[in-house]
Each structure stands twice: as C-alpha cells, then as structure tokens.
Symmetry: C2
Subunit: 334 residues, 2 copies
C-alpha cells in the first residue's frame, strides 16, 4: 500500500509565509481505531483562515504547533470504516483537523457524507462548503439586506465573495464587488452577474466605489480589512451593517493596519459584527440545501483554481495569500 | 421686559474650541406665534455632542451655521402659551434647537412637560434627560448584559457613564469604570458603587483594566474613543458587545485616532453598534419612568457641575471637552 505524505509546520512565519515554513513528512498509512474511518483525500481546500492558525497569537481556534499537520478540510473517499455510519467507497467531507495530507483517520462523528450526484465533489469545499456557508450565514443573519439595498463585498471573485454577491442578486439587491485586476472584475460582472466591480489596484478606490454605489452602501461583507475596509467605512449609510468575516490584508502584516474612519460607526449607527461560520454549524444542512438548489438552477456560479498534487500546496497557499488565485483555491490530490 | 441673550457661532473651530468661536448677541424677547410657547430657560445642558454640531463635517444632524444659536437643551418655565397643552408656569424640557439662550419660542409639540415633584428640574437634563436615556437604551437594546457579566464604561463619572454603571449594578453585573484622575475614580467606586474604576491618566491602562476585569469584558459602553477604545478592544470576550456612543477624544482632533485592534471584532465575534438616543424617542417615557423609579429608591446617584449665568457657557463647554467637569455639566440661567 502507498505511503502517506503530509505537510507539517516547520516554523512560524513572520510576515509573509514562505516555503521554508513547511516540511513534507512521509509516514505509513494509519489504521482506523474503533469508531474511526480511514479516508483517502481527493481534494484539499486552501483558505485564508489557515494563515491565522500558523501563528501563536490568540485567535478563535487553537493554532498549529511545530511538527503538526497544517489545518485544512478535504473531500475524500472512505477506504476502511470502523464506524457504522460509513462504508468503503462513501464520499465524505472531513473536518479541519484532517489537514494537508493524502490519508487520514477521523472519528465518524466529524465526517459529513456528501452526495456526488448533487454537485461535483470539489463544490463541497467551495460554494457548498465552508466559503459558501460563510457567505450564507453572514448575509442571512448579520447583513440581512432588503431588496433594493446595496451590498458591497471585497475579494469578490473569491470563494466567499462570489457567493455573497450572487445571494445579493438573488435577493433583489444591488451587488458591487471589489477585486484586484481587470480580469477578476470582468469575471465578477460578466460571469457572476454583479452590477459593478471596482478594481482596487487601479484608479482611486473611494471615487470608483462611490460611483458604483450611487445610493451608498447598506451592507458591507468584509473579507479583506485594511485600507479597503477603511474606504468602505466612508460610504456606509445610516443603519447599515458590516459583516467582518476576514482581514486577509492583515494576516501577513507585521504591523496591523491603522483604521482611520471608525467614527462612521457612530455617525451612521452602523452595526458591525465579527463572524466565524462554525457558530452556525447546527444549521449547515439548511444552508447547504439552499445553495445546492441555487447551483442546480444555475443561479450560483463558481470558479476554481486547481493545483495538482500535494507537493504544490505551499506555493498555492502563498499565491492565495497574495491574491494570485482566481476563484476557489484547491489542490487535486488524486 | 428683559432682553434675550444668546450665544451664536462666530466661526468653526479647528481642533480645540476657543472662546473666539462664540459671539454673544442681545435681542428682544420674542413673542410666541400660533401653536408656540415662550419659555424662560432655567437650566442649560452642555453635552459633548454639541462639538459635532460646530462643524461642517457630515454627521447625524445638521450642523450649526455661522450666526445661529448654539444647539442645546434647556429646562424652563412657560411664560406665555399659544398652545393648548401648556399654560403659564408649566415646567418644560425643550428640544435641542432651543440652544444657548435665555428665552425662546418653540412649538408646543417639541416640548415635554416635566414633573418638578418627581425630581429636581436639572435632573431632566441629566440622569432623566438625554444622558440617562442614552445610557438606558444603549445598555438595554445593544449591550444587553446578563447578570454576572462585566460591563466597562469610559467617562465613567460623566452624565452617561455614571448611569451606565449604576444600571449594570442594578442588573447584577460587574461594573468597571474608566475615568481621568483619582478623585473621579474614587467617586465612581465609593459614591456610585462601581466595582472598580481605572484612572487612564495614571499607570498603564491595559494592565490596570485587565486587572479590574479578571473575566474579560462582555459589554463596553464607549464614550471616549481613541486610545481608550483601542485598549478595551484588546480585552473583549468572545460574543461581547460594544455600544459606540461617543468619541469625544476625536471631536477636537485635527487628525482622527488610528485604531490598531479592530481585528478583535473578527476573532471574538464582537457585535459593535453605533447609537444616537433619538432613534428611540418614542420610548422616552418608558425609560424616564424606570430611571425616575431608581432615583426615588436612591439606586441612581448623580453629580452636577454647575456654572452660573449664560455668560459662563463657552468656558464651561471648553472645560467639558477637556474633561475638567465632574458630573453632569449645567449652566444655571435663573
């Protein structure tokens, strides 16, 4: 039988992540204990939140220790099961503790059976996975836009942002994206159907965003933080809402961005709320059903950026943090 | 009959307000038109929000124009009434448009009758007035602390802060104040009954506040902004709430404070909301009744800083912005 391979944390990054922060280890494929399932991973998801785990700073989850496998969700196939809920050949979504490896054993309780007939397997890591669920609960429970309102989302071509804007359109809102580069902006408007998309790398973000939001901003879904966040704050309407979902621009900074326009929260009576999708984990099936319905009706489009083989993961992750991916970043493992 | 006197805006301040920004004008006492009431003002309230009106920057209310009377609420006595709801001798609370003057005519609809038997007249500008109502709705509708939680309030000896902490105690919470100087801190703990109060002018605010909040902070009522706000952000618990009520530290700054710890909103899933008490104006009677009940049961204490005569208003206001007042700042007009 094949050997397992796993990317482990070699050192904590300071500032930008580099390949030296990772170490590839080989080991025998493990055997499942009682209640466990052995999974052969087919797809690995790369997500910006993983940068937060490669740190010793306080966060909402325990960080990765030196020598541990890097955090990450996968979709895989059951090879061997000691849990009554799973059998050989089942397709499953694993928890984040599976991580960057080819094979792994997990308790049956933390696995989610997926239906390969309903959507391609990789979708369970993207628009039907954590990114899609994040968009869904952030919009539904915090942003709660009404028809006719304007929704702005940063990292609009990404796995979360693309779902945010498509939900906004499905709910009758004006959807305005922020993305880096003309190609991403074109995709967001022409393929995903947003009303407008502003390129933060060209022109003047404040002026361009203001032009794209003639009635101001009612809901801002913030994935980026930093200067983009600060600029959107200047355009928020009275009684508007901000979903604070990610601050990728800060994850690699050695010094945090210093926010200048917080007074807008007071003047405009903004409600701003931080979110972690896991807080709604008991409602995942509801959200997954709704998103799968949109997908089947072709109201939910997505794009994937696929790198081949586990070996490519560190480079692909570094690219993701630098915004080089275009759509949901995945590693095809088999 | 006496002449009216009124403080008008002579020029917009840049940075700190100075006496040169004000001009005292004399004029005849006006006569009430149909539906109007002529009020002789007895007490004038000075509040930090007025600094925001002395500006051309966008805010939640129209600013004061050059030559206009400075915004401000008063409690006064009806001298003449052309409105069926009021008669000579009635005591009334006026709207903010009454402003810094001795006499004024207002439409009956915007006046609130006050009961001098229930509380001293000046209370209707303090703990039963806008500051008290601000504390009440901010705590009840945004902070919503549960018994046993820790509530932190800045400007704790002030008109809003003192009510916030006493509400926290009445609801079974740990109340921790932040104030400037030992005398204010002693008052907050010994007179108002807070559990602790940290002097932001001495020691190390982060260390001292952390020691005063051994279980972290569940609700922060922010009146000050700037560095105090930034420091409290570092101590917020998961699922905590921040009421953004005032940013007095920014009102006089020519450059806004740059916030460093906004990431705490994400990591701790904080809900942060800006508030203006006027948004709850239809529920003022409910709040005033509840606070008056606490006052009568001696569960709501207050302190006033009284300057004599309309002429003293600019100096008293400048002192308020610099934190020189101790308790609710009032001008006794008659």
């Amino acid at each position: 039988m094949a050997h397992n391979k796993a990317w482990t944390l070699a050192s904590y990054p300071t500032g930008w992540v580099t390949e030296e922060n990772f170490k590839l280890l080989e080991s025998p494929v493990p055997s499942p204990k009682d209640g466990e399932v052995l999974v052969k991973n087919l797809w690995l998801s790369l997500d910006p939140y993983m940068r937060g785990r490669m740190s010793q700073a306080k966060s909402y989850a325990r960080g990765v220790e030196i020598g541990e496998v890097i955090t990450g969700e996968t979709v895989g196939e059951v090879l061997e099961s000691n849990h009554p809920g799973f059998k050989h050949g089942d397709k499953v979504l694993t928890g984040q503790r599976m991580g960057w490896q080819l094979y792994g054993c997990m308790k049956g309780e933390v696995l989610t059976m997926v239906d390969a007939a309903r959507a391609p397997l990789s979708c369970y890591l993207g628009c039907l996975g954590m990114p899609g669920l994040t968009a869904y609960f952030g919009m539904k429970e915090i942003g709660a836009p009404k028809a006719g309102e304007t929704v702005v989302v940063s990292a609009a071509s990404g796995a979360v942002g693309s779902v945010v804007g498509q939900l906004a359109k499905a709910w009758g809102c004006r959807a305005v994206g922020i993305a880096g580069g003309q190609a991403k902006c074109d995709y967001v408007v022409k393929e995903l159907g947003f009303d407008a998309c502003v390129d933060y790398k060209a022109g003047n973000l404040f002026r361009d965003l203001k032009a794209a939001c003639p009635k101001g901003v009612d809901v801002s879904f913030e994935n980026v933080g930093g200067e983009v966040f600060d600029t959107v704050l200047r355009l928020m309407n009275v009684f508007s809402r901000i979903i604070v979902c990610g601050m990728i621009s800060d994850y690699n900074a050695t010094k945090p961005y210093e926010l200048k326009n917080i007074r807008s929260v007071l003047v405009n009576r903004i409600r701003m709320q931080g979110m972690i999708v896991f807080d709604w984990h008991q409602r995942y099936p509801e959200a997954r059903n709704e998103l799968a319905g949109m997908l089947q009706q072709r109201k939910l489009k997505y794009r994937e950026s696929v790198a081949e083989g586990l070996e490519s993961a560190p480079q692909a992750f570094i690219g993701l943090l630098k915004g080089r991916n275009f759509g949901k970043q995945l590693i095809k493992l088999a």
